[in-house]
Symmetry: C2
Subunit: 200 residues, 2 copies
């Protein structure tokens, strides 16, 4: 039994971009299997009285975040463009991510969506962008997006977001080990992996 | 001319504890001289409508912070106790820190105050605790604390806090290089030092 790590992401989350791009090879090296958990931060922010990203509500922190993210991506050699609008509407991507999980292509889908948003400046709220990603991965985009719009998937996304709130997740990316240890942010990715790996 | 790095700290700031303990030896290795800049986060938080620490206003984030800080201190071999009350009243420590800066013992004073608060569970809002630290460092505690209560020092602290706001500082610890690059948090300490050092 290989150790597992839950990876909670909202597709609009900025620091999730470098984390998602770094994670798959690092997890393979660490011998850790990943459970991708798409969810929505919006309802969690709303419960704190916030109507948009804290990076918009706190302009100084927001300006810092963009510069910090730019430095992080430069150091990693990752292309970076600032999404417009920010935050992007991540609902359809999250629902499609749940379908991709069922179909077994979640990791590739998630990496492609973050690359579209932060490397290529695409609007991931646009169904056409998601359609092109699914097609490009060799899956039936029309069936996938149709399934993303069903009551079953909508209810699974609400349940995932409720579960995130119960787990006291307050930001993304968040990592949870099998023994319930929570790590928050791209900065904690390595620590989360080594915590997960040393349990065995 | 050796490169310099501004180090902005509020004595109540939790992640400033490991940062302050780690910084002096790392700065010496990097060949960087430190400008310690005590200030108050309270007025900056107040301008965002917050009446206390965001770690109190957002309980899930707060609980995470305490666990994260505990893990960080354990990994560094630093003793850690959770301050009670939190946040501590950091006004008198900040004013005394400005006197220590004038007198040339700021770094020792700052490290002792953070150790008192986070390693020994002392209340740094208590003048007796600060008095003991100054005495222990071999300085005149009565004269130091008297000077901390003068209009000149009070006005210097207000000016420092205004300057922090102008510099768009929104949290502590914050580091600013000579070319104006802002780094926030214990997690960015190494990056701030290497950015400062490579300018020359």
């Amino acid at each position: 039994m290989r150790p597992r790590l839950q990876v909670w992401i909202d597709f609009a989350s900025t620091y999730s971009y470098p984390a998602v791009m770094r994670l798959p090879p690092l997890a393979r090296s660490a011998g850790v299997d990943l459970d991708w958990r798409p969810f929505l931060l919006g309802p969690i922010f709303k419960s704190l009285g916030w109507t948009t990203s804290p990076f918009n509500l706190q302009p100084h922190k927001g300006r810092y975040m963009w510069r910090d993210l730019e430095r992080i991506c430069a150091a990693l050699g990752l292309p970076f463009v600032r999404p417009d609008p920010f935050p992007q509407a991540s609902l359809l991507a999250a629902r499609t991510g749940l379908v991709a999980l069922e179909e077994g292509f979640a990791e590739d889908f998630i990496m492609r969506v973050f690359a579209a948003e932060f490397a290529h400046g695409k609007d991931i709220g646009d169904a056409g962008v998601l359609n092109a990603i699914v097609t490009d991965l060799g899956y039936d985009a029309s069936a996938t997006l149709h399934r993303a719009d069903t009551a079953g998937i909508k209810s699974r996304l609400r349940a995932a977001t409720d579960e995130a709130a119960r787990l006291e997740i307050f930001g993304a990316p968040s990592f949870i080990t099998e023994d319930g240890e929570l790590f928050w942010g791209n900065d904690r990715l390595e620590q989360a992996l080594s915590w997960a790996a040393r349990e065995r």
